[in-house]
């Protein structure tokens, strides 16, 4: 495992719900990240965020870690859930609420 992968692995396993995004929850720097935060807020989720713009190693590493080319990326209980499109789809059909609720227990 590379150093970046090890760091990412640590983050996703240490936090039950973590969003890798551009910017912060308060000041998202991209529309997709903003949408992802809005969904988690709407669900009342207790989540952490990682600003990839502050960390080039994680910004690149996270794409390899999940084999996913874009940011934001949501992880729940160490598992990659998806990007903002999948989050929206799962939010609309209630799946995300279940997943996030289960993670909080």
């Amino acid at each position: 495992m590379t150093e970046a992968k090890e760091r990412i692995d640590g983050i996703v396993h240490k936090n039950d719900i973590v969003l890798f995004m551009k910017g912060t929850a308060l000041f998202p720097q991209c529309g997709f990240s903003s949408r992802a935060v809005a969904i988690l807020e709407r669900l009342g989720a207790d989540y952490e965020t990682v600003d990839v713009l502050q960390d080039p190693e994680i910004r690149q590493g996270i794409k390899e870690y999940s084999d996913w080319p874009t940011i934001p990326q949501l992880y729940v209980k160490g598992e990659f859930v998806g990007g903002s499109d999948i989050m929206m789809e799962m939010f609309e059909n209630g799946e995300l609420q279940q997943l996030v609720g289960a993670a909080a227990e």
């Binding site: 529309g31 084999d67 996913w68 080319p69 874009t70 998806g82 990007g83 499109d85 999948i86 789809e89």
Partner: protein, 82 residues
Amino acid sequence: MAMSASEIERLIRAAIPDAEVAITDLAGDGDHYAAKVVSSAFRGMPRVKQHQKVYAALGGRMGGELHALQLQTVAPEEKASD
């Protein structure tokens, strides 16, 4: 650098031959698209894998040359329910 809708469609069809692809240019700027892809190849596949299959078809352009592609993937039998 932007990509044309027809190029996106061509790449997806080349990798997933039975795919029905519908592309919308969201902002009219050739840089922000939404794509709906229907293929039997998605049957029984988790959503993340379905999207990864489309990203693979785009051969690394996603997140680079192609900045924004809202993606919806569907297997044919799920089509009626959306």
